[in-house]
Symmetry: D2
């Protein structure tokens, strides 16, 4: 059966139901504008996957309250993050620092030898202003910030770093990179082999993104009061600290991990799915470090996320349910880059809440008890 021959989701479902003798009635229950989704978001569309959305919070971030929409199928996750939000908010709230790195795209060129390496390096340095112009012409919202280079035999990689305002911006960056690459190839006669050479690095765990950042670098912190540790989190600063050190530092070091944390991926996944982010960027969002430090009997907890790729326009953010989730956060649509930055901030704070709750639960030994009682469970 040629799935591409049908005109719409309804026809495709009917054909699949007939051929496979299965029912797709729930897949067909949706309110999205199918023609828009089918043309912009998904080919051969047959309907939707419905993923439950819950609300964690309110979470006080830099003195303002947020309700965090989370799409998940893992029972206990929303409740867990919600508990972390409660503990954080009771302790005065989370502070966040966000640094925009930018969206990167890394084409690869073919050099004959090290002399051409030098020629290409010099060309890039000498023509940076023109490269910036090309980026701006390709999309008025796009700014080329800088570039880095690397070499593997005949392969010369250029990692262009763009500011794409409120868009996550991979498409804009790719289109601009192509026009810049065409210009470079035209002027230097050095050929572009591929518009992406994995020195971007898009959607793979990588130390390049961990160390030099991608999208946004985000830091979030909270000082958990002793009574909140005892009350809401049912643990102590010392117990929490011991588990943090054993798990996030020791276990992660021993296992060669890029995730020195408890469950970044769980929180990032739920927030990204609810708000229409590219789910493959959960990979980069899983990287990062959680830190804990005892202050008297209080506990300072902080997180660092090196590679938060988010946007509030484009991609899945325009779909009806995803847009509603962004509206719950008050950041749907474009706003001179401020909405994407806010989403990165919220991601950092939510991730912090998730870390707090899970580590407290592990410290108290209550994780399994809760899961058994509820017959379900979030893990990490």
């Amino acid at each position: 059966m040629n799935i591409r021959k049908f005109e719409n989701a309804s026809q495709r479902r009917a054909a699949l139901e007939a051929e496979l003798k299965t029912s797709l009635k729930n897949t067909g229950h949706f309110s999205l504008d199918e023609s828009m989704a089918a043309s912009r978001n998904c080919e051969n569309m047959i309907g939707v996957a419905q993923i439950p959305v819950g609300i964690a919070g309110p979470l006080k971030i830099d003195a303002k309250d947020y309700y965090i929409p989370l799409a998940t199928t893992e029972g206990a996750l929303v409740a867990s993050i919600s508990r972390g939000c409660k503990a954080s908010t009771e302790s005065g709230g989370v502070s966040v620092d966000v640094e925009k790195i930018g969206t990167t795209r890394g084409p690869v060129f073919i050099i004959e030898n090290l002399k051409e390496k030098t020629i290409l390096e010099n060309f890039l340095k000498d023509n940076l202003a023109e490269l910036k112009n090309i980026a701006k012409k390709s999309d008025s919202h796009l700014v080329l910030k800088k570039f880095d280079t690397a070499v593997f035999g005949h392969n010369f990689y250029i990692r262009f770093v763009f500011d794409a305002k409120d868009a996550m911006g991979m498409n804009m960056a790719t289109i601009a990179a192509q026009e810049i690459a065409d210009f470079i190839a035209d002027k230097t006669k050095i050929k572009c082999l591929s518009i992406s050479g994995n020195y971007c690095v898009d959607k793979k765990p990588s130390w390049l993104n961990f160390i030099n950042g991608r999208g946004f670098k985000v830091w979030a912190e909270v000082l958990l009061a002793e009574k909140v540790l005892r009350g809401t989190l049912k643990t102590t600063a010392q117990k929490f600290y011991d588990v943090w050190l054993a798990k996030c530092m020791g276990g992660s070091a021993l296992s060669g991990s890029m995730g020195f944390n408890a469950q970044f991926a769980n929180t990032i996944a739920a927030l990204f799915l609810a708000t229409g982010q590219d789910p493959a960027h959960i990979v980069e969002g899983s990287m990062g470090i959680t830190n804990a430090g005892i202050k008297n009997e209080n506990l300072y907890v902080s997180v660092y996320l090196p590679s938060v790729m988010v946007g509030t326009v484009g991609g899945g953010t325009g779909l009806a349910t995803q847009k509603e989730a962004l509206s719950i956060l008050g950041i749907a649509g474009g706003n001179e880059g401020k909405n994407a930055q806010s989403l990165a901030m919220i991601a950092g704070a939510a991730v912090l809440a998730g870390e707090i709750s899970l580590l407290a639960s592990l410290a108290q030994g209550s994780l399994v008890k809760a899961h058994k009682k509820l017959g379900r469970g979030q893990n990490s």
Copy 2:
């Protein structure tokens, strides 16, 4: 506002709409059994995120045709994977090899010194049969296969490896690990600090899982015929190979990546979301290696995925739309471990199709052209 006080999704939506002056009507358009989803999959549920599902395929795997359900908001992804399915099927189909490693959980114990390290190691060796019994008692579907250990100061980590049949099995593994840990602590008087110490390693990029495997190790291969390369993929074996080497090997090595591939994460994310897998496991699914080799003018392409965590029962697999996606693949529900194994096999083959299409597109320089024309785009 205390989001936890409401009785159901409808009330929560109404409250949020009133407080935030926003509309959530699409979020509220769903057919899932809300009471089931709210009790098993998502707390504080307010509705769903609707994620478009498209069909790629048919993809011939070990002589049988599959239609691959993919949930995505990234335009071009389904079309891209579909093209890879077409090229693979035209070339005679994909062969897959799957090795079940198992689900791991790694509690951490507190030893006083190296003498207690030896005591604990000996205890584990001497009591393996009893530990297996405890696992079996905790869940009749669960088998404790083996364990590994590691030490960081006073922290002694045990990585238990379980076979959970058709379940992804993190909850079953966690519950069993807790009972085993209780037994060990009781007998040795060596305390369990935390039921997870990140030597599992769950949902973080890690070399431990890359090297020793987790869930399933999957290999998939296809020999693309020259005429398919020229026709369907509009490239040549040599061009494809050059891009593969530059991107998947050179660029990934230079960037310190665990993903020596083009877009594992995109394909895994779309398949996992459609079929109700835990989206945080996209992280582990993004790890792995793509390989290409020219044979005359044909092209051998293969992929290796070290850490595929999937199941066909439990978690999100029981939700209505997700179950329908599994039914499209003919593997919904439990089947003595065979359905989960089939899903791992399909994941490997679909990932291979995704690699083929994107690398061919990059080799031909057509990626940007396609995206510009369609005003949309999948990336990596």
Copy 3:
């Protein structure tokens, strides 16, 4: 000038001195048996590099005192390690746990497809006894312990793990691996591409060796008494701990390091050079983790080295000065594997002493002061 045409070191020196108008009189000042060194250890020999050897210690290890010979050109290193020895010995001495993993060699075979992968895997399982026989025949001191496999496209890697008794054993392992590979190729008609495919992994930093071990895994621990911290080390448990956490854990995690330690490489380098080990194995010896934990006002410090490649026979261990260094430790020559094991033990304990001293110095802020005063310095 053809350096290979001369008969001995003296002639080569003379020729170089004439051609380059330089003096090599110190290079020519040595007592090694030149004909032996020239035939076994170094081609085109012109003389020696003289590297100063100092003594650290005594260091009490498992109740016995050792003087540690260290070859170094970095001023302050011997003094630093010596201070760590003193502090450790004053605190009752170091305890060490050593696990022999074995010497590995990883040939790579060429398979046509995944079917041949299965064929080869089955052949290896079915013929393990015969492979062990071949290893034993190739060298009566060599035991094949086990093997692991991995696949990259057509490349099938087998990591053979050997016990080579008191030899570091790379040559024995390579020769045995060649004979085993010949046997496999003969029986299966699957060709061996290369006797080493970097799945060994020899002399490169790698997570494979970090996680699964190579040579010896070594753990060493000491409980530093409060008065020793205050007296000999001029710091406190808390100060030491803070620097350890910031440096060995935080800084190492942020920089994507395989060395969660202060100066493993310095200590390993000095001990390896003095005792005739292969200096390229310093690379593997630099991997590992230092841990610190406050116990009342005492401090528990421990180290874990996953990949200690040492021997007391073969290679550079037979050279006159190197043999004398081994004699100082009482472990020159072969002794049923016990001498190599002792050297691994001593390496772990010496490394621990080095960590203690440097971290204490950093904690006290005295590192620079000492270096400025002495006009010299060891670093890390």
Copy 4:
């Protein structure tokens, strides 16, 4: 026995010989200026380790011939590198590109919270000129080039990058970093916890150094002519390429290595020991990538070394035999940074020669044959 109480090497040897009933006569056979070595290079000195030095070459680098001094105890290594020199020189010689990154030192400060992070970042930006002045005042040969920062909880890391001219420069960098740190602490009242926080990163394998470089970044290339491949190297371009891909790329990727190469560590170790470099920097020198590409029937081979830490003044370079080795290369002593740069260049070219020879040998299957015949062996 208190080894520190003796006045000189001779007394220490006599005492050890008496106590341990062992002979140290070869250790005592040296011509170094003991009082200088004992005061600058090695405490508790008892003599020297004599390490055989051989000569590889001549190796043509950018049209000039070099004889490469190599200190090693591993038989076959000098011969192997020498063969690579011959093949390279016969093919027209090696081209090298060197980029000076600089010597780094990374102190760690204690911040209270993210506000102090911002304060410290702003202070650094606003006072860069003054920081540069302090560096210059601490040593007139030292230039502070730039800095990077990173944060782990309360720990704020600054990675200062210095140009130390012909010195490897760790001591100068450490002293300057201390004075800069004192200034920062004085002005901001933010305390410096430790002068090194492993964000340097000194002597550990790390992606930070791999990606952003340390010391020198070096690229070296050669185009091996078909007749040289056939004649001197006894292999073909295709065979060489196949082994390179399987070993340096596939095997290294599968093992989570930072060394995508054949034997960087062997060559770097031998050159560093001969020329008085810090042997712990072999660790950083082992990182990097070898590349091969077939051009008709010729073979392009290149290497990339990201972290070459070398100098021609200071440390071990002033010792008699080491200085003679530098003289053989024509680069002993200071020369406005040019000598250290030349040594980095030579290191890159020699490493390339070592890769060529070993990979050719593996491709031909002759490695074991040669080792068995000679009863010795270099490995990797």
